[in-house]
Amino acid sequence: MRIGLFVTCLTDTLFPETGKAVVTVLERLGHQVEFPAGQACCGQMHFNTGYRRDAIPMARTFTQAFADYEAIVTPSASCASMVHEYYPALAAESGDERLGKAVADIVPRTYEFSVFLANVLHTTDVGAYFPHKVTYHPSCHSLRMLKVGDAPYRLLRDVRGLDLTELPDADSCCGFGGTFAIKNAETSAAICADKVTAIRQTQAEVVCAADNSCLMHIGGALTRQRSGVAAMHLAEILASTESTQSTQSTQSTQSTQSTGGAA
């Protein structure tokens, strides 16, 4: 299977460790992954903030970059749901029939990473080792738009050494909401405060999710409070093995300090 990694602009720019982790896991499972350099942003931020016309060229860039891949895998449930939920409408609005065809063609081949592993490759044991107490935040777009279901939980349960602890009120939003976090900063912070409280109640060392956007938000509050809880993308936990654990700390993604003390 020819797999194209859609790394997303946020992960590409700010959290490259997540992209590397996706490559590591897929290659460990014996797949060849390519990163089409023609990719950029899915356009979600522009679309969701009311700049729909500006999002059209981004959808076009996406369809062109990934036209030749059998599977397009992305470590973002949010960007995957942008493609699934809104690209068809956006293409229709553009009046560009070729874009419409390209979108219709590409949507069924676009997968969020955990769904791709669990439901397409039918693999939940990816050979990972992560001896830490972890809680999982099901991000809103993974839960309610893309409906990834229990795929992330199944993957986490099959990680050796991992102690998965349930997050209270897990399905509540973290308050990020893209530009909402800026336009309605106070309300966003108030929502985040409750999410952080729930995470800390679990006494987990790591909170993980299938979206770096939510993790950037939650992680930003966790480090501001010097909480000692790391925010980490699911892919990085799945990439972790006995050999990487000796050199990597649990703080990789969201602190950008990818190597540190022993775990």
């Binding site: 700010l14 903030t49 860039t61 909401g177 929502i191 930003g220 509050a221």
Partner: protein, 471 residues
């Protein structure tokens, strides 16, 4: 009397609400309680999803054929001895009601809780005509006595706890018993005694309607306290103010909605009182019945393919109770009788996207989708919000920022250049590996959250460096 005119933008109004710890506590407690109960009530039905789809289809069909059904309703109400009045907007509706009350020679009216009359500002308009409107729903009465505005569609006083309610009764209700405590039973008894006198005195009752059935010209009010039943049966004259979208073709359709509404709103299998009346009767009830059908922006909304789904709303308020934003801000921040997610799509459609409040409402959401998930008529609120966001006139600065960033984000080459620039600046902007302070408007983020520092190289750069040979 407070009104919704000149309300500030949502972020501004929310700032005060978010800082109010009593309000936050009251809201968290109330919304979490009803949220859990609702989930239980819905889980009892195996065919919930089918009911929801049926409701959606019935509403969409009715809205698409509103011209037919409205005329059928008018014909059947008239046949049953009622009078039908048509109001294009709030001013027309208020004028009609004021005239009808004056014709009935009344200077006070008792009211059933009604969203339509809140929307048109009927109480204020009647007051300007020397007519006192008395709210008889317990929570609505609390809000009225406190000279406050409702903050929830179903429980207008959700922002008050019982100690605050006791204080309002003692201060504003002349016949409140001495030594009234904050025991809910005592509070309810005090309100009941107070209201009983009003019911017996009133000659005119005013209601809205949850549903209007075209086939027979019947109106339906669904409630919990029995005050509504009093208002629609005791007075000589009954005036019902109803939005044109409240119509259902037939009684068979009503069945679906009576299964959906109580479970979604109060988490009950069936609400305690369902009052249904058809015109007037010699034996019983009001001797005169007037139906005021109100457009007030609904036809304009109907013309909007994406926005029109908001007209399916049956005012259950399930979306408010699950909304992370509503839970922190309460209803007043929405500057409208329709708060919460549904308010954020209804208010700007009915009132237009002109005022500071209405321009900001489509952005008062994280787009988490919890509202859509619980909506009993399957209104895709996130979709409508995003749709309305595109219709809002953005500021020049914001437009510029988004157009420029759009040029970068659509081009892999420009994005790579921006990433190189970001990585080069990391030592300056983030000494500790985190960014602790950014200038406005990004300071909204860094006031309470760190921002990540750019990494030494982007993923793209790493790929090119380590696997450059491959595509």
């Amino acid at each position: 009397m407070p009104t919704y005119v000149g309300m500030p933008s949502f972020p501004k109004a929310a700032r005060t609400a978010v800082a109010d710890s009593q309000l936050r506590h009251n809201l968290t407690h109330a919304t979490h309680t009803i949220r859990a109960k609702r989930a239980g009530a819905i889980a009892e039905l195996d065919d919930w999803e089918q009911l929801r789809q049926a409701a959606k289809v019935i509403k969409d069909h009715t809205l698409a054929n509103l011209d037919t059904y409205l005329l059928r309703l008018e014909e059947n109400v008239t046949k049953a001895g009622g009078h039908v009045h048509w109001a294009r907007d709030a001013a027309e509706a208020n004028a009609i009601v004021a005239t009808l009350v004056r014709q009935a020679k009344a200077d006070r009216v008792v009211k059933v809780k009604s969203m339509a009359t809140q929307e048109i500002g009927l109480n204020e308009a009647l007051a300007a005509n020397g007519i006192q409107a008395i709210e008889t729903d317990l929570a609505e009465l609390i809000v009225q006595l406190d000279h406050d505005l409702p903050s929830h569609i179903l429980v207008p006083a959700i922002h008050k706890n019982r100690a605050e309610i006791r204080d309002i009764f003692r201060r504003e209700m002349p016949d409140a018993p001495p030594g009234l405590t904050d025991d809910p039973a005592q509070l309810a008894a005090a309100a009941r005694t107070h209201l009983r006198q009003e019911f017996l005195k009133a000659t005119v009752g005013i209601s809205g309607a949850n549903f209007a059935i075209a086939d027979t010209g019947s109106l339906v009010v669904v409630e919990s306290e029995g005050n509504g039943r009093m208002c629609v049966t005791l007075p000589e004259t009954l005036i019902s103010v109803v939005g044109i979208e409240k119509i259902l073709p037939s009684w068979r359709d009503l069945e679906v909605f009576l299964a959906l509404l109580p479970r979604s709103s109060t988490a009950e299998r069936m609400n305690p009182y369902t009052s249904i009346w058809t015109g007037v009767s010699d034996q019983d009830g009001p001797k005169a019945f007037h139906l005021v059908l109100v457009d007030n922006g609904r036809t304009a909304s109907l013309a909007d393919r994406t926005g029109r789904q908001a007209l399916r709303c049956i005012r259950c308020s399930a979306c408010l109770n699950v909304c992370p934003v509503y839970e922190r801000t309460g209803g007043h921040a929405y500057g409208s009788p329709y708060p919460g997610p549904i308010g954020a799509i209804i208010s700007p459609q009915l009132r237009g996207l002109e005022s500071a409040a209405d321009r900001s409402l489509p952005f008062a959401s994280t787009l988490c989708g919890a509202c859509y998930e619980v909506c009993p008529v399957a209104i895709n609120i996130p979709e409508a919000l995003v749709h309305l966001r595109a219709k809002v006139k953005h500021t020049m600065t914001e437009r510029t920022v988004f157009h420029l960033s759009g040029l970068v984000l659509q081009s892999p080459r420009k994005l790579a250049a921006a990433q190189r620039f970001a990585s080069a600046s990391r030592k300056i902007v983030a000494r500790s590996g985190r960014i602790r302070r950014l200038p406005p408007p990004m300071s909204g983020w860094t006031d309470t959250r760190d921002a990540p520092a750019p990494p030494p190289e982007s993923f793209r750069a790493w790929w090119a460096r380590t696997r450059g040979g491959k595509r």
